[in-house]
Symmetry: C2
Subunit: 210 residues, 2 copies
């Protein structure tokens, strides 16, 4: 069964909650989860039906069972190897992000065109010359790239990746890529998140321009 | 008129596209935008109706007019000052993220509890002792915090922020915060994005466990 994107997103958040319970908190109610995330209880119950074994809701859900069911459904144990393209500030921060591994995301190597970075190691991940993507993608069977290059080079780098065996680009730049058919792009739109957060609410605007 | 979150998100992406056009590309069609983002043309047209002056669709939309209309609607010019809480890898990368300023997000200061970081400057932003949040939040009128502390300390830090005048927490940790009513939290769920991206598709799973 295909799970809608929004449900995947929320199941991940439920997992964060379950992961954070104390040893003695054996059960959790859908209403508690809903309250922590400020969403509807009915939404939580509906989402949990996507799991094969969501546990029983009478006492609340068994936390361990529920946690494991999410892990299985979203395949946390199936490691997906990725390349980080761009060993700058954001790329390096993502390479050092320790939580990824728990969810099946494994940064295998990094790539850059800066000779000062090539050959260095960031959190145990070697930085290769970007010209090596094709070769290493094939040899290591990696087809997911995390794109963190400067905006100006995003398009040309994405096209280069598309020709180098990369099939999935997780795009952290503020550039919309124009890649050949068959390449899937996911835009990680941080700017959009911030604007959603601050526009639909009474965030005080500290307008320095006035 | 309140704009739905998803529309805000897409309008931001349309702006990225418009920002990237060459000087001689005066017009753009909704179908071109739709194609670049792999979404429906009708969706783009509907979204653009939220703008006060979306421009005329006959020749395609006038790119400059459309770009300006998005900027006005989403208030890019109204600077929103934020504090980054946690001067680690991710916090530092966000402090150095040059694109934020164009969209009205201004990092005013950073905070940490590490004496080796306090007093240093990251991309021109001073790192203060985290105990100073309350004082500086009040003095500078800042009520938005970007939370990038380690997961273990996320809850206690969030509660401290809630008691220090912070009203909005943009949460980059994998911890679901349990804050008092009146505090708005936006969970930046990178793990969820990745799982959406890789679960609903035939991403080759490089299962190292087999």
């Amino acid at each position: 069964m295909n799970i809608p994107d929004k449900v995947i997103n929320r199941l991940t958040l439920y997992h964060f909650i379950l992961d954070d319970l104390r040893e003695d908190e054996q059960y959790i109610s859908s209403s508690k989860i809903a309250e922590l995330l400020n969403i509807d209880n009915s939404q939580v119950r509906k989402d949990l039906k996507y799991l094969d074994k969501p546990g029983k809701a009478r006492l609340g859900y068994n936390a361990k069972t529920l946690k494991k069911a999410i892990e299985e459904k979203l395949a946390f144990k199936q490691t997906k190897d990725v390349f980080i393209i761009g060993a700058g500030n954001l790329g390096s921060a993502l390479a050092k992000y320790s939580n990824f591994k728990d969810y099946g995301l494994n940064v295998l190597a990094m790539f850059d065109n800066d000779v000062n970075k090539i050959g260095t190691t960031i959190n145990g991940k070697e930085v290769f010359n970007i010209t090596k993507v094709g070769n290493l993608s094939q040899r290591l069977g990696v087809d997911i790239a995390v794109l963190t290059v400067p905006r100006e080079s995003a398009k040309s780098v994405a096209n280069y990746l598309a020709g180098s065996g990369i099939k999935y680009i997780w795009n952290f730049t503020t550039c919309i890529l124009d890649v050949p058919k068959g390449i899937k792009v996911c835009n990680e739109n941080l700017i959009g998140s911030f604007l959603q957060f601050t526009n639909n609410d009474e965030v005080k605007n500290n307008n320095n321009d006035n």
